[in-house]
Structure formats: structure tokens, C-alpha cells
């Protein structure tokens, strides 16, 4: 029983990176966040969108990058990952 509870409480730390309008609204360009172990990218976006309006507004158009590569929404975030929220890009 004790062991099961411990497993549920297991957490990871990830570094979030914000850019363009998300960085402006967030007020920071990077932050460290503690997350439940096993959380997916899609779950992370849903959770953050609850308290971050600009992410909520853009969430359908945000692509997730983990450690500087685009990943699918179901990708699991691991301890130490760098997670970036990529709104539609407009370089060139």
C-alpha cells in the first residue's frame, strides 16, 4: 500500500520554453516545472492551458518540441526534458 502511494506521487522536473506571443504573455522565456511522472505532452498542454489563457487560445495550433525535436502529443515527458510550445512559425 505504501509503495503504491509512493509511485503515484512520483514526480519529474521539466524545463518549459516559451517564445513569441506565449513568452510575452507568460512573462518568462523559460521556467522549471514539477510534473507527475508519466504525463504526456497533450496532458501538459491541457493542464497549463487551464491557467494560461494565451496557451488555451492557441492550443490547437501549438506543436510540442521535446529536447529540440517536434514530438507527437502522446509523447511522455521525462525528467530533465526541455519542453517547448511552438506556435505557428513565421521565419523567412
Amino acid at each position: 500500500m505504501d509503495r503504491a502511494v509512493k509511485a503515484e506521487l512520483k514526480t519529474i522536473e521539466a524545463e518549459l520554453r516559451w517564445f513569441s506571443q506565449l513568452a510575452e504573455k507568460r512573462g518568462v522565456r523559460s521556467e522549471t516545472i514539477t510534473l507527475p511522472s508519466g504525463i504526456t505532452g497533450a496532458e501538459l498542454i491541457s493542464q497549463l492551458a487551464k491557467e494560461f489563457d494565451e496557451l488555451n487560445r492557441m492550443k490547437k495550433h501549438v506543436r510540442l518540441a521535446v529536447n529540440q525535436s517536434y514530438v507527437e502529443p502522446f509523447t511522455v515527458i521525462h525528467d530533465g526534458d526541455e519542453v517547448a510550445f511552438i506556435t505557428p512559425v513565421s521565419g523567412g
Binding site: R17, F19, S20, Q21, A23, E24, N56, R57, M58, K59, K60, H61, A65, Q68, S69, Y70, A84, I86, T87, P88, V89, S90, G91, G92
Partner: protein
């Protein structure tokens, strides 16, 4: 400034743009009769509005690795001798260059096709964002960020 230079690929995100001569010399190869250099320049208008300035934000490290992915793919799809991408970050006033894409190929048509394909992919995948400043003192806007959640 983030950059990478191998034998056939040269990428730079941020910093000052290298001189065109230097870029041309880098991409030139003896079996390539064509060098195409494309410069993206800040234009004084967009979608009917007068633009005075662009400001680029960038996820530098990932922009660099995405450009590398794009150029490696282009090297497979086109007969490129060598290829290069340079992108400024920060403010780029009207009339100044924000981006350079350069390639060499044996023949001329494939040089322009490759350059256009590379730019297309930059505009799709490279995490660089442009904020447009207008002369009517309206609010500056992140290009592509106007999308509503509906």
C-alpha cells in the same frame, strides 16, 4: 548566435549575416554550374498594411537543428553541391535582409527549385517568429499568432 558548418552545410541563427561572396564561395563546387542565393528582405507592406520593422524571436538551438534536418533532406532530394541557411534574429528594418538561403547545383533550374523548397520548409518547421510593427501605430502583431481558438 548559433551556427554549424560542415563540409557541405553552413547554418547560422542570429548574429550578423556573412558576406554574400563568402557564402557563394562556400557553396560553389567544381561540378556545379549554378549558384543561387536568395535573400529575404523586410518589405514595407504586408496584407495591405504598412510595415516599418520586423522583430524575430527564435528558439535558436532548435532552429539550428531544424535547418540541419531541412538541408540534409534537401541534399537527398536535389543534386546539391552544398547548401546554406542564415537567419537573423531581433530587429530587421525595412529594406534589410533577414534570411539568406544559398545552394549550388549542376544546372540552373534545380538550383531555384531547391532554394524555394528549402524556404518553404523553413517557413513551416523552423521555430522562428516574426513580429510586425506598423506605421499606423496600431499594435504590433506576431505573424501567424492571430489564429483564434475556434
Amino acid at each position: 548566435m548559433h551556427h554549424k558548418k560542415t563540409e557541405n552545410i553552413w547554418i547560422q541563427i542570429g548574429g550578423e549575416l556573412p558576406a554574400l561572396e563568402e557564402i557563394s564561395k562556400f557553396v560553389r563546387r567544381d561540378h556545379c554550374g549554378a549558384v543561387n542565393l536568395f535573400e529575404g528582405v523586410t518589405r514595407n507592406h504586408d496584407s495591405g498594411k504598412s510595415v516599418t520593422l520586423l522583430s524575430y524571436d527564435s528558439y535558436d538551438e532548435m532552429a539550428l537543428s531544424q535547418c540541419e534536418v531541412i538541408l540534409n533532406r534537401a541534399m537527398k532530394e536535389y543534386p546539391l553541391g552544398a547548401a546554406a541557411i542564415f537567419h537573423k534574429t531581433g530587429e530587421v528594418p525595412v529594406g534589410e535582409v533577414s534570411m539568406i538561403v544559398a545552394v549550388s547545383t549542376p544546372h540552373r533550374k534545380e538550383s531555384t527549385q531547391a532554394v524555394l523548397a528549402i524556404i518553404e520548409q523553413i517557413k513551416q518547421d523552423v521555430p522562428i517568429w516574426k513580429k510586425e510593427f506598423f506605421d499606423d501605430e496600431g499594435e504590433a502583431v506576431w505573424k501567424g499568432g492571430e489564429i483564434s481558438s475556434d
